[in-house]
């Protein structure tokens, strides 16, 4: 291995696992490292002086999305993600382009380096799927009776979750033609102004669908906090326990629970 000079730099670049390509202002390749040559299945003799879009053939080539073109146009760093078939199944690539400048600072070409981020993309996908699963698990709208739905809420209610709860409830109301929905907030750790606002919004939306929303599971502590914060739940029907709310819901759909005589 050489110890100094341009040769050393070239050897270092050649051993880099990332693809590195440099082009001049007319998109003629002026440099490609070993990884780039392997990726294109070419040799330096064949590729130097060629147009880069003939050698690589990305979907972004010759379009305004080409990051080298963007970098050369505005002199800034651009990054894009693309999908390419590298022979071993679909690979996800992240290309970063920087403008090449001469000593006067004028742009004379572009340099692009490409990283294989397949593993990262797959991990991100998995994470998104898991997030969706958790979200679905956290907002189970259950049919309790013909015309009565229940949504037990556990944990923290933030804006995102409130929106998801609302969507889930509204769609379920539409699908099941329910006249009452009980939102049980027994498992909600804390109810503050923001959470109360979310609850009010949800009840309004269900009302617009023609379904009355009852809120149950209001503990003494939560009731105290709500009054101390001066939150007016207005016309929303609230109950202490789920069974109270269910009784109310039964009366709304003209049902009544009666005790039958005990069997002898």
């Amino acid at each position: 291995m050489k110890t100094n000079g341009i040769e050393l730099e070239k050897e270092i670049l050649d051993q880099l696992p990332a693809i590195v390509i440099a082009v001049d202002k007319n998109f003629n390749v002026i440099y490609a490292n070993n990884a780039a040559l392997n990726f294109m299945g070419s040799t330096p003799e064949k590729i130097i002086g060629q147009h880069c879009y003939n050698a690589i053939r990305n979907p972004q080539c010759n379009t305004p999305e080409c990051c080298i073109a963007q970098a050369m146009a505005d002199g800034k760093v651009h990054t894009i993600r693309s999908e390419a078939d590298g022979g071993t199944g679909n690979r996800f690539l992240e290309s970063t382009a920087v403008p090449l400048k001469d000593e006067k600072g004028e742009i004379v070409g572009g340099l692009e380096f490409v990283l294989d981020i397949t593993q990262k993309v797959l991990d991100e996908k998995k994470l998104n799927e898991q997030g969706r699963t958790i979200r679905d698990m956290s907002t189970p709208t259950i049919k309790l009776w013909d015309g009565i739905l229940v949504l037990p809420v556990v944990g923290v209610i933030d804006t995102n979750r409130a929106q998801h709860m609302m969507d889930s409830m509204l769609n379920k109301i539409l699908a099941s033609n329910s006249r009452a929905i009980i939102m049980d907030i027994q498992g909600v750790a804390a109810v503050d102004t923001a959470v109360a606002n979310h609850l009010i919004k949800i009840t309004k939306a269900t009302k617009l669908m023609g379904c009355e929303c009852l809120i149950s599971g209001i503990s003494p502590g939560v009731a105290k906090t709500l009054t101390q914060l001066g939150i007016n739940l207005g016309s929303i029907k609230t109950k202490a326990t789920l069974s109270d709310a269910l009784e109310e819901a039964f009366s709304m759909i003209n049902l009544r629970v009666v005790t039958t005589e005990a069997k002898q």
């Binding site: 969507d167 033609n177 617009l208 669908m209 016309s235």
Partner: protein, 122 residues
């Protein structure tokens, strides 16, 4: 009701309830037409109330919401009850998002529910 199609509002009467199906997009001209139609029917058929079926509406902005509200209020002044029906989930959540006042609206689940609602309380 010959001209009702071109205003994308069509209606029928059952149990002294006028059921107005509103389709497409709402303009104030259409709403005026709807209001006139309902008032005309109210005199002729001795209506007790109106069910406004919004199932065919893809979007409902604040202006159209206000117009619909005004119709409900105007009908109430004439002693007619009005019930809204068939609001889609997306419309419901967007109405709530822009803070529409829904407290004194009467909204029903289906026509059966609406007929009962309009017929029952007096």
């Amino acid at each position: 009701m010959d001209s009702s199609e071109e205003y994308s509002v069509s209606g029928s009467v059952t149990n002294r309830c006028y059921i107005a199906c509103i389709n497409g997009e709402l303009s104030s001209a259409q709403m005026g037409q709807l209001y006139d139609e309902i008032v005309r029917m109210a005199e002729k058929r001795e209506l007790r109330g109106v069910i406004m079926d919004l199932n065919g509406l893809a979007v409902l902005d604040s202006a159209a919401f206000c117009v619909l509200r005004k119709i409900s209020v105007a009908l109430a002044l004439m002693g007619l009850k009005s019930a809204w029906m068939g609001i889609k989930p997306a419309i419901a959540s967007s109405l709530v998002d822009f803070g529409a006042d829904v407290d004194d609206l009467c909204i029903c689940l289906n026509i059966e529910d609406g007929v009962r609602l309009i017929g029952s309380e007096k």
